[in-house]
Symmetry: C2
Subunit: 461 residues, 2 copies
């Protein structure tokens, strides 16, 4: 950790974004309604940077920008704009601009663009496509949300399995509809069942008369169009796939998923887990307004109000104890909050391990026992510190003993709860990142107050 920090000082910095100076010039051009200046400033910028710019503009400037720049808006920029404001952007663009942009897109990007729109808006956009593209997009939309079928592009490069390298190269040279990016030629049988694939590198490096069958890759595996996109991303990362054919329920080739799309999904899944663990909706975005932000966060706050009331109830059972020794009120949050941290630690490791399939039924028992032991060890360590603090700072060794004993109980509950709760939720089919935190901290809060006040009323009073 420290090492990482130290070496980072030596590393080069490049922020991969528009410079502050560029941004100021762009803002000036927008404010002065200077379209040509804007075009000039953005001429060499990547679509992703232009999309970032649009996201970061204030809403009035964004409207001004769109009316000045609409001639230059293309499919690439539109695909890059974040979901949270894309609909707003599309509404502000002239219909012809959107239609033209959509015609340039690959089918997977069109699907991504329109899947959250309502039927009539979808139809307006689909009408801009030619028949075969529209059919491809409509077929994708028949698959469930977050499935491989929604993620795939329909543009696939195939060859009959009996072809040679030379035949394949001649075919590729004569086709003019090839996708922008493709990494494999997929070999299919006459019923379009994928049988293997060949990398373009091997195709280029082999002699013309080599049969494709002799240079296929071991890494070949097909993906069902109904597979969850998170599993697809996991498989790409685990098996180092670059592209993978997608098949329908009859094992027929319907599309291909490429690693750049799998990488985006991996990024989104991580972001979702990160935000869910912090009890934030994964729809949250920095460009949201205050009302939207407040509304997204309120539900978990209200739930916490309820779980915190359970702790209050626990404490209220010991009002007599607290009344007789008021210092207990000051000390009791120590046990509860340290338990909360330990629970979150154990939980985070378990949630990640579940996501990466490192925590399975094979090793669950071992991991639970490991947590139990680690909780006991840390409980003991913290108890020693608390006993010393009680003795030498508060001058009350018995209070130190009570704090320490309560801490040991709560650390054990925290560490084991941190792995049992996500394991249980995942068995029930609930995303462990979503609800585990609330369960675990409620447990550690209640246990922390109960153990401390219970032991105090038994030992001290």
């Amino acid at each position: 950790m420290t090492e990482h920090r130290e070496t980072e000082a030596e590393l080069a910095e490049d922020d991969f974004e528009l410079s502050r100076k560029d941004l100021e010039a762009i803002n000036r051009a927008i404010d002065e309604q200077d379209g040509p200046a804007l075009d000039r400033l953005l001429e060499h910028e990547h679509a992703a940077d232009i999309a970032d710019l649009i996201e970061q503009l204030t809403p009035p400037r964004r409207r001004a920008f769109l009316s000045l720049y609409s001639g230059e808006m293309d499919g690439e920029i539109l695909s890059e704009i974040d979901d949270s404001i894309r609909e707003e952007v599309i509404e502000q663009l002239p219909h012809e601009v959107v239609a033209e942009a959509v015609r340039e897109m690959d089918s997977d990007d069109v699907v991504d663009l329109i899947e959250d729109m309502d039927k009539s808006e979808q139809q307006a956009i689909l009408a801009a496509l030619d028949d075969s593209d529209r059919a491809a997009v409509e077929r994708s939309l028949t698959y469930p949300e977050y499935s491989a079928g929604r993620l795939m592009q329909s543009e696939v490069v195939t060859a009959p399995e009996h072809w040679t390298v030379g035949e394949t190269i001649d075919y590729l040279r004569h086709e003019d509809w090839l996708p922008d990016q493709f990494y494999h030629v997929i070999m299919v049988d006459p019923r379009r069942h994928p049988k293997g694939y060949v990398t373009l590198g091997k195709l280029l490096a082999s002699r013309r008369e080599t049969p494709l069958r002799e240079i296929t890759e071991d890494s070949f595996r097909t993906i069902s169009a109904r597979q969850d996109e998170g599993d697809v991303a996991y498989a790409f990362n685990k098996y180092h796939l670059i592209s993978a054919p997608v098949v329908d329920d009859h094992d027929r080739l319907v599309g291909v998923i490429t690693i750049d799309d799998a990488m985006s999904v991996l990024d989104e899944e991580h972001e979702e887990d990160f935000l869910r663990m912090a009890r934030v909706s994964d729809e949250s975005h920095v460009s949201d307004g205050p009302l939207q932000t407040a509304r997204q966060r309120l539900p978990w706050l209200v739930i916490n109000l309820f779980t915190a009331s359970l702790s209050a109830l626990v404490i209220s059972r010991f009002e007599g104890t607290v009344a007789r020794l008021v210092i207990l009120a000051a000390l009791m949050p120590i046990v509860a909050s340290t338990g909360g941290i330990a629970g979150t630690q154990s939980l985070a490791v378990a949630v990640r391990a579940l996501a990466t399939r490192d925590l399975t039924s094979t090793n669950a028992r071992r991991v639970i026992l490991r947590e139990l032991a680690a909780g006991m060890l840390n409980g003991l360590g913290l108890a020693v510190i608390l006993f010393l603090a009680g003795t030498f700072i508060l001058g009350a060794p018995m209070i130190g003993v009570v704090l320490g004993m309560a801490m040991i109980c709560n650390q054990i509950v925290a560490a084991t709860g941190g792995v049992l709760v996500p394991l249980g939720l995942s068995k029930l089919g609930v995303d462990p990142a979503l609800a585990s935190g609330t369960f675990v901290t409620t447990m550690t809060d209640m246990m922390g107050f109960f153990a401390f006040l219970g032991l105090a009323s038994w030992i001290l009073i």
Copy 2:
């Protein structure tokens, strides 16, 4: 969120891992010392699955496995094994097996394997490589840890910029050292400065006489060997790069980074942020033992002991108030803990937005004001609930008023603190995921107790 859950039921399941039945058969073969059965069981398994298996075995079974299976251990399996146990595995394998495995690896995998070893172990492995491979690995190791120079592979396919498609294909057909996976031919000038690149797809689809210059890609950008690997992964994801040439300080081509490596880094960086936010060392792994686990988690627990003592100090200033109205002791955690949740929510959004460069100096002021307003709104909402609960459940409207007012203060502190703290830490060059949580929850705890008890002693007593 709910929608996501609902549709997942329709999605196909494939766990991309060894089945439970296979695992049992493998364990049996290990226990019976049946090497041939083990070979047969693992014959068609992917290296990544075998590596997962090795990670999940208990340490004694792992030793037995390695002595039975050592003949089959190859470079691919060795590269896939998690850092946390790889050194242990290498120590248990015969030296010739490791040497043979390393010879098969790409230079980037060798670097990954040996970078954490001490000098003498590194030398033993480097000695197994031939001269040019060893030189490549040694050059990579001269770049800082976590840099593009460590991530790149040295095997690069280049062509002079003036070549045609035909010349390039002829050259590729006659080379026998081509890397397993490559996606671009990089055009270099006579001093090995990269000038552009051509996708293999374009190379295959173009006529032989086409000059390479006419089919280069716009996406071309070089990466400095000193660039942080996290920035590299960010750039790959943002600009949809598939491979990118890496250059030294003199802009000379020294290697290439491919998207599969960038995807692994993206995955690791997310995992690191996730664990850091939960105050767990990013070295944590489910295969760690109890002692190791306890030691990794103890530092943050001790820090929390200290910060929780600050809250205890705040409360102890109000001992007189609590003594006169003991119910305050039961109620005070409500304000503090709900503030903690709100702080974590705001923090998580800010930490992600900083990582994705969505929170910049351009919009920082707007985001801070947005958080202020959202905190006020949610504080008001929660205050209404607390007032009603105070009135109708506790029968004490004034206690409800105090709870509500304290909640409003603490929600504002939580929401703004959640964005100001990570912004401040990131300005100071500290990873905001690492320390923000402790700062923010200390703030919300102290503020929660102070506002509630302060208002109570002013209004109620």
